[in-house]
Amino acid sequence: MKARVTVTLKTGVLDPQGKAIEGALHSLGIDGIASVRQGKVFDIEVEGDDAEAAKAALAAASEKLLANTVVENYRVDIL
């Protein structure tokens, strides 16, 4: 079973990398970009086919390692 964990910065946390990318997009002349926030995506292959168990395991993985919940949010999707 394939799953995806998406980790994003919480609102209000300064994201200088996102800002730099935003600036680069503007300088490339790509119009209509209001703002950029950078995050991380983890594509994870889960054993078995119990979606609820997989969701719980990946939530634990996110809490313990994948996200720093002081500044980051995470989302678990079973694909």
């Binding site: 946390v13 300064l14 200088p16 990398q17 730099a20 390692l65 720093n68 002081v70 500044v71």
Partner: protein, 227 residues
């Protein structure tokens, strides 16, 4: 004073930390991150600077969950001393031994230069030979040193006197241009609640020899050895 310096894959300041501690009169031993236990009668654990695990995921994230960190947590809970420098500070935050997080520097640059710090208090085991509000001349070398935490955590740190060092200029004036990375309240280092764990971004271990231009870093190690 018996000091254990933890070596993670990618640590690179363990030699400097050992040298500074030995100069101050401590016994030092290097401990591998995959070990379960600290050497008997360890007084001080040092998490040195470097780039543990290549800064993968987040700085200090993987090292913060290494086997040896359970022993370090137990050591800290017993009141043992723990010093995390640079990447070691990041590891302390990731391991839950200190609150908050070190974010990317405000201007995205890796900053490597001499830096003054104001000693916020001199009644801890780490700073007793310094004067209160003394400006000490040390070094910084980091890309992720921008300290951030929840508003209430910052308030707690301030109210409990747990800010160890702030970025300042040679005249001990804090903040403004003297802040190299955008760190909240110009924080360069913080203590745990019991003041036995110190995490700091700057490198006192690099300013212990007149040959490199300064010896202000010695005070921290001399303080610890006198503990």
């Amino acid at each position: 004073m018996k000091a254990a310096i933890v070596l993670f894959p990618g640590s690179n300041r363990e030699g400097d930390a050992a040298r500074a501690l030995r100069q101050a009169g401590a016994d030092t031993q290097i401990v591998w991150h995959d070990d379960h236990a600290l050497p008997d009668r360890t007084d001080l654990v040092v998490l040195p600077g470097g780039f543990s695990y290549g800064d993968y995921l987040r700085c200090g994230a993987i090292a913060g969950r290494a086997k040896i960190m359970d022993a370090v947590r137990a050591h800290a809970a017993r009141g043992g001393y723990v010093l995390g420098i640079c990447n070691g500070f990041q590891i302390l935050c990731e391991s839950g031994l200190l609150p908050g997080v070190l974010m990317r520097n405000r201007d995205l640059r890796f900053v490597c230069k001499r830096q003054f710090l104001r000693v916020e208090r001199n009644d801890t085991v780490f700073t007793r030979v310094y004067k209160k509000h003394q400006a000490i001349d040390v070094a910084i070398a980091h890309g992720e040193g921008n300290y951030e935490a929840h508003e209430e955590t910052i308030r707690e740190l301030e109210d409990q006197g747990r800010v160890a060092f702030r970025y300042c200029n040679a005249q001990a004036q804090v903040g403004g241009e003297a802040n190299p990375n955008g760190s909240t309240n110009d924080i360069a280092g913080i203590y745990s609640e019991k003041l036995n764990v110190l995490g700091m971004m700057p490198h006192p271990e690099n300013l212990i020899d007149p040959l490199v231009g300064g010896i202000d870093g010695r005070g921290l190690f001399a303080s610890l050895v006198a503990a």
